[in-house]
């Protein structure tokens, strides 16, 4: 079967041939990270659209779980289509932007109740993230707004390429109230760009807010398991029959481990095989959880494992 034992360490085996059919055969569905797995920048990974099509024809579910908090799921649906992936609908896509909004809705609106009295959310992030928070029925605090008015009950840190010292100070002002939540969309310290450069991630901005406020953020994204809870609630996924496919050991593979999913590392993104092997050889107990069960050079390599 595909279930991953929680007590033994994964062994990072290349998935191919008979092993491929043994692993994919029993799987009911696959969870895919997006950046570095399905596409890199504006280019689909060669063979990735075909893999998704073959999964559909095999009757296996494909769902998407991404730490990228820049885009709304509606924008992501359009992106899938633009890059050549057919049949992916917004409801299949779980971004950290969406899940952070769902998390805040749960915490601030609770069981029932309308928007008033729930308090506002101060968002450090772009329009995609702000839109998801609004769509969840929450009201936003604006930058530079005076302190009077409905209290701010949460500060949400996401990918914010317009982050400034002034916004950091404003966030800290709200966080002086111990009732005000500090939530981060994801822990990623940086993201790769197509030319090999890196851009700072939400994790670096969250570190600034945590340091200034003396608070620890609740992190919604991978490797934490909240996004999997959202998936289970909407689609009722069985972890023992589901595979997690990702490119980043510290987020995707650890997320799979934390959720009880068998994991496949694809080498078209951030993590190198040598890093997985180093974790495997490490004496550090925590390092073992970053070792994938399997790896492939690209997700296109999964195609032969599916029935014709």
């Amino acid at each position: 079967g595909v279930s991953s034992s929680s007590s033994s360490m994964a062994s990072c085996r290349r998935l191919s041939g008979a092993g491929l059919r043994e692993v994919l055969g029993p799987a009911q569905g696959l969870l895919f990270d997006c950046d570095g797995v399905l596409w890199a920048g504006e280019r689909a990974v060669p063979g990735a659209p075909e893999l998704l099509e073959r999964l559909r024809r095999s009757g296996k579910a494909a769902l998407f779980v991404s730490n990228n908090s820049r885009r709304s799921v509606a924008e992501l649906e359009r992106r899938f289509s633009r890059l050549g992936f057919r049949g992916v609908r917004a409801e299949h896509v779980f971004s950290s932007a969406l899940c952070s909004a769902l998390f805040l809705r749960q915490r601030l609106l609770g069981g029932g109740g309308n928007g008033s009295g729930a308090g506002r959310v101060f968002v450090l992030g772009g329009e995609g993230l702000r839109g998801e928070v609004r769509d969840a029925g929450l009201r936003l605090a604006d930058e530079g707004e005076p302190a009077a008015g409905e209290p701010v009950r949460a500060v949400l840190v996401g990918y914010d390429d317009q982050f400034t010292f002034a916004k950091l100070a404003q966030a800290c002002g709200y966080l002086r109230d111990p009732q005000c939540l500090l939530v981060a969309t994801d822990p990623d310290p940086w993201h790769p760009l197509s030319d090999g450069q890196r851009t700072p991630g939400t994790g670096s901005l969250t570190a600034a807010v945590e340091t200034a406020s003396g608070r620890k953020a609740l992190v919604v994204g991978k490797p934490n398991t909240y996004m999997f809870d959202c998936i289970v609630e909407r689609f009722g996924v069985d972890p023992s029959r589901t595979l997690m496919v990702g490119d980043r050991l510290e987020t995707d593979i650890l997320f799979g481990k934390n959720c009880g999913l068998a994991t496949i590392l694809t080498l078209t993104g951030v993590s190198r095989l040598e890093e997985a092997q180093a974790y495997m050889a490490s004496d550090n107990a925590a390092a073992k959880d970053l070792v994938p069960n399997y790896y492939v050079d690209s997700i296109a390599d999964l195609i032969p494992g599916l029935d014709e």
């Binding site: 950091l168 030319d195 991630g201 570190a207 600034a208 340091t211």
Partner: protein, 178 residues
Amino acid sequence: AALPGPAAADWVQAPLDPAVRAVLVGFDEHFSYAKLCQALRYLLRGGPDCLLVGTNRDHRLPLEGGAGIPGTGCLVKAVETAAQREAFIVGKPNRFMFDCVAGEFPVDPARTIMVGDRLDTDILMGNNCGLTTLLTLTGVTALDEVRGHQDSGCPARHGLVPDFYVDSIADLLPVLGE
């Protein structure tokens, strides 16, 4: 120089100054994602040949009434997290600044008192440099914080305990002659 375009994808195309060999993070009320982006680019380009230096790690600068503004430590942490490397911090408790003072003035540590309000910067540096340390209570530290370190079994925390304390530095006036 101003960065082209509105977004990060544009900023990473801007040319880097070939002469830059260090990123220095200090108090910057104009800190922005764009600057963080540029800092990361220099650090990645230079690797260990590009220094990452921070002036200090203070979390907040306290203002009246319990308010405060974010300190340099927040900005240092942002750069360290993005670059996944640790900054060299020049400020207290590092002894570098004491060495600067001792290099300019004839300072005998055995006959010098360090006066400060913060245990993990002022007092720790003073203790590390062999100075007599005096805590004043007009700033960030309350006395029970000191007791906590004193009563802990941890030798590292004992370094945070001052030799003496006063409620305010004005309390020193009576012992100073005309």
